[in-house]
Symmetry: C2
Subunit: 272 residues, 2 copies
């Protein structure tokens, strides 16, 4: 049985390196479709265009305009393919309107991430109470986002210390920590990790700045094939200036290994 | 008088959104020209193509092959231009060989970075002794890189605790901190910050992994127009796995403000 995520990010080939997708209204948030959902859709098209290199090692997306549910087209141009990695450019459009332009370098994590030549890994998962002792996103919906279909896609369990914003008491920490899994318990893989990297609410919520924070640019690195089970996710920001903020996301798998990281530059939230 | 940096990154228009550059042999390191130098050259061409939006807010570069001194061409395609930001794609080639493909979103930092709507900034400059009490790059050249012309471009003063690698005693910290300025005291600006983000030695040196670390992808965010004077720069990495590592760089200006940050995914160093 196909998971909701896999069905929603499916792409259909239409000629060489050209794909169509049907963007689902199940991933609406704020002013459009979730950026991570769109990134995963683009990444699936790039994977189709790069046989033998299934995994996004690094993908950089610049968001041009808000995507809407419905038909979309992804054009992929292979820029380099040789050795252990390949690089491609991908553009997602709806009609004549560009939504996302991305550059992506792919490889095979099953061959790269042996850990054999690991030199160092100080990255550690966030300290989180057990999922049953955390706060579910089902009961932590900020005012104005009750109707966001995106919230039904995930099972998120927030650290109780990080969720004051949901009840009008933001803690000002600039840090958000949560357990994460997909609604139908689909286990994570390198493609779904791209979704996870933009799934939590904007870290600006912890400063009481609620509402949708449009992404300008997001670059994701997938560092290893994730183990099955719950993921642990952190969002953090250290500088909000000039109406922009950076959001660093880290995703750790059930073994505690850092499997994906991202940084995005986004606009401070607009009132919902 | 034109600074060495400005002369070396100059671009000449050759038709609409097409530019030529003469890549200087003064920026050689390891297997090719320094990635930050190349990024700044690409960024200068993008600036030429986006009038009224002089500053790279976010630029994502995927490195396709090592660049050589000599003629290069930069083609820029404007993907979106309207409102306060514009996004373009840029490709740097030498002959028929692609060297770098980039996506860049530009704006006007002098209008954005008023600080008026700053909500939060916990990012703080590294703790460094005075420049005269730090270790100059003139006396901290790792074996095999003595001939790197790049080292003549910068005045870097490393934290004494972070420089053991230069004498065969790497401290294993995964952290490198230094003062930075250009050789001819050219004051920093948003364009030169792109160079600074890839100027220090790879943080892998602190683990005794010496040699050139080829960049796969580097994304830079310029967060503010830097004040004149010395910059403070940190390089850090928390996960080295599968032959790859991430390197986070932060640049603080003389007022202690975070003015630029980057993350790159690079290959573990090859023996020099």
């Amino acid at each position: 049985m196909t998971s909701v995520f896999d069905a929603a990010t499916a792409v259909t080939p239409r000629g060489e390196h050209r794909y169509t997708a049907e963007l689902s209204d199940g991933w609406l948030i704020g002013g459009g479709l979730n950026g991570g959902y769109l990134l995963a859709t683009v990444a699936r098209a790039v994977r189709e265009a790069l046989p033998g290199k299934p995994d996004p090692l690094a993908i950089s997306a610049h968001y041009l305009s808000a995507s809407r549910p419905g038909a979309a087209e992804v054009d992929v141009r292979v820029l380099r393919d040789g050795g252990t990695v390949a690089t491609a450019a991908a553009d997602l459009r709806q009609g004549d309107v560009g939504r996302i332009s991305a550059l992506a370098t792919y490889g095979d994590l099953s061959r790269l991430s042996t850990g054999a030549d690991d030199l160092h890994a100080t990255a550690a998962p966030p300290d989180l109470p057990a999922p049953e002792d955390c706060v579910s996103n089902a009961v932590s919906v900020p005012v104005g986002l009750e109707a966001a279909s995106l919230l039904e896609r995930f099972d998120m369990r927030f650290h109780p210390d990080d969720i004051g914003w949901a009840s009008g008491r933001p803690n000002g920490s600039g840090l958000m920590r949560a357990w994460f899994r997909l609604e139908d318990d689909r286990d994570p893989d390198p493609l779904s990790l791209l979704l996870v990297l933009d799934a939590l609410p904007p870290v600006t919520f912890t400063f009481g700045a609620m509402g949708w924070a449009p992404t300008i640019e997001l670059t994701a690195h997938v560092r290893a094939v994730p183990a099955p089970g719950w993921l642990r996710v952190t969002h953090a920001s250290r500088t909000m200036a000039g109406g922009l903020f950076e959001e660093d996301c880290e995703v750790f798998d059930s073994t505690g290994r850092l499997v994906a990281q991202s940084r995005q530059l986004a606009r401070m939230p607009r009132p919902v």
